[in-house]
């Protein structure tokens, strides 16, 4: 995308303006964004699938967060920032990996159909095995699981971030968990 060694002719004309932002905005940014940098990166990393792209996405999200900081009116700062990360990541993916962004059919709940069987109990699985299982999930399912299980967000917060109804969040979680259960049942790990 870019390299730190970029040089442009006549770049000395880029001069800092005395006052680009109001006095409170950097302070607000510091208070709202910085404490949640790990969460921002975590989501970017899970959506992007690798360190390099995740860092690009997280950086861009921070720039956007700064741009929108005046629009943050209280509320949960982490959820607010994660919504920006999510949008940035999806735009990035659509542009750079269009095939990764295949919308799932939220009407489909076939995997849940047979209520007479139950999946086995996990006796704790290896971290790398779990990571691989999460990475194998479709993008929207992975997003729901990461926001719910790793970030501990509520259905309502996830719904706002993913821009879907709360019921969809629940069905995505149900389907994501079923896929994880099946993943381990097939592999025989953690059973």
């Amino acid at each position: 995308m870019y390299s730190a060694g970029n040089k442009i002719a006549g770049r000395a004309v880029w001069r800092k303006r005395k006052r680009i932002v109001s006095a409170t905005e950097p302070e607000q940014f510091e208070r709202v964004v910085l404490p949640h940098l790990d969460a921002a990166y975590n989501l970017a990393r899970w959506l992007a699938g690798n360190d390099h792209d995740a860092e690009d996405i997280a950086q861009e999200a921070c720039v956007r967060a700064f741009r929108f900081i005046g629009g943050h009116r209280g509320g949960d700062a982490r959820a607010w920032l994660l919504a920006i990360v999510r949008n940035t990541a999806f735009s990035w993916l659509k542009k750079n990996r269009p095939r990764a962004v295949v919308s799932i059919d939220d009407g489909e709940i076939a995997e849940l159909e047979d209520p007479t069987v139950a999946a086995g109990v996990f006796n704790g699985a290896d971290r790398n095995v779990l990571r691989a299982a999460l990475e194998a999930l479709p993008l929207e399912f992975r997003e729901a699981i990461v926001l719910r299980e790793l970030e501990g967000l509520s259905y309502k917060e996830i719904a706002e971030i993913a821009e879907v109804p709360v019921g969809t969040v629940m069905s995505r979680l149900a389907r994501a968990r079923r896929q994880l259960q099946n993943h381990f049942a097939r592999k025989g790990d953690g059973q």
Partner: protein, 247 residues
């Protein structure tokens, strides 16, 4: 409650998202149904595994450093030694152009606040013409554009389409002027793009038409909002749009 219902609600149940009545029902079902009880145990163990495995990624030090540096570069000039141009360029390449550096040219000292504002308006306009900066929401439908601003601004801009008057609305975006968030509405007249910046008034602004660096600028206050129009369109035609907005 049957098993099919219970299976879906089980998720809301273990997530603590179910209302008391349904939670009670699910609990009752689990006591009588071994298959669902086993599913519940499986889901609980999956959760324990996910939460116990420390799957969160930590932000790398480089990201933290970059964001810190970004903060430092936003501080007023007097309080820090020098801009790290290379670093700034990196952020610019990422699209920071949208915020941090509004005016490209060197600005002589002793310039009035009014001039600063006008320069900033022109800079915002020029920046918006660069690829991907023009619109955050592209739509000629004011019912799409207006709600898009909800939650992004602490005011609701009046969004109207003037296609019938030959000024079609083509979209909107969030922008920054003078340190605060403003609504940016984008209109078009033939090949000319027009940016209309709208933000709540802090006092009356006299209606004025300006030319700056080849752009026409019209500013006025109406309906409790400041409006600032900027375009390469001639001032007369731009005035027509101003008239429509002022109504």
């Amino acid at each position: 409650m049957n098993c099919t219902e219970a299976r879906l609600l089980l998720h809301a149940h273990i997530d603590g998202e179910l209302d008391a009545a349904n939670s009670l029902e699910v609990g009752r079902h689990l006591k009588t149904c071994t298959a669902c009880a086993a599913e519940n145990a499986s889901l609980q163990s999956l959760r324990t595994a996910l939460r116990g495995a420390d799957l969160n990624y930590q932000a790398p030090a480089s990201l933290r450093t970059d964001v810190r540096q970004f903060m430092r570069d936003l501080e007023p000039e007097a309080t820090r030694p020098a801009v790290q141009l290379q670093w700034l360029w990196k952020w610019l390449a990422l699209g920071l152009a949208a915020t941090a550096l509004a005016v490209v040219s060197l600005r002589p000292t002793g310039i009035s606040e009014r001039d600063t504002q006008l320069n900033e308006v022109v800079a915002s306009h020029v920046r918006s013409l660069q690829a991907e900066h023009l619109m955050d929401v592209a739509s000629s439908d004011r019912h799409t554009v207006k709600p898009w601003f909800d939650g992004k601004l602490d005011f609701a801009p009046d969004v109207q389409d003037f296609a019938a008057q030959n000024f079609p609305l083509i979209g909107g975006r969030l922008d920054y002027l003078d340190g605060h968030a403003v609504a940016g509405l984008v209109y078009r007249r033939n090949k000319h793009l027009i940016n209309v910046f709208v933000w709540p008034t802090t006092g009356p602004m006299k209606h004025e038409t300006e030319a700056r660096r080849g752009f026409s600028i019209i500013r006025f206050t109406a309906k409790g909002m400041h409006y600032c129009l900027v375009s390469d369109l001639n001032p007369t035609e731009l005035g027509e749009l101003a008239g429509l907005l002022e109504k």
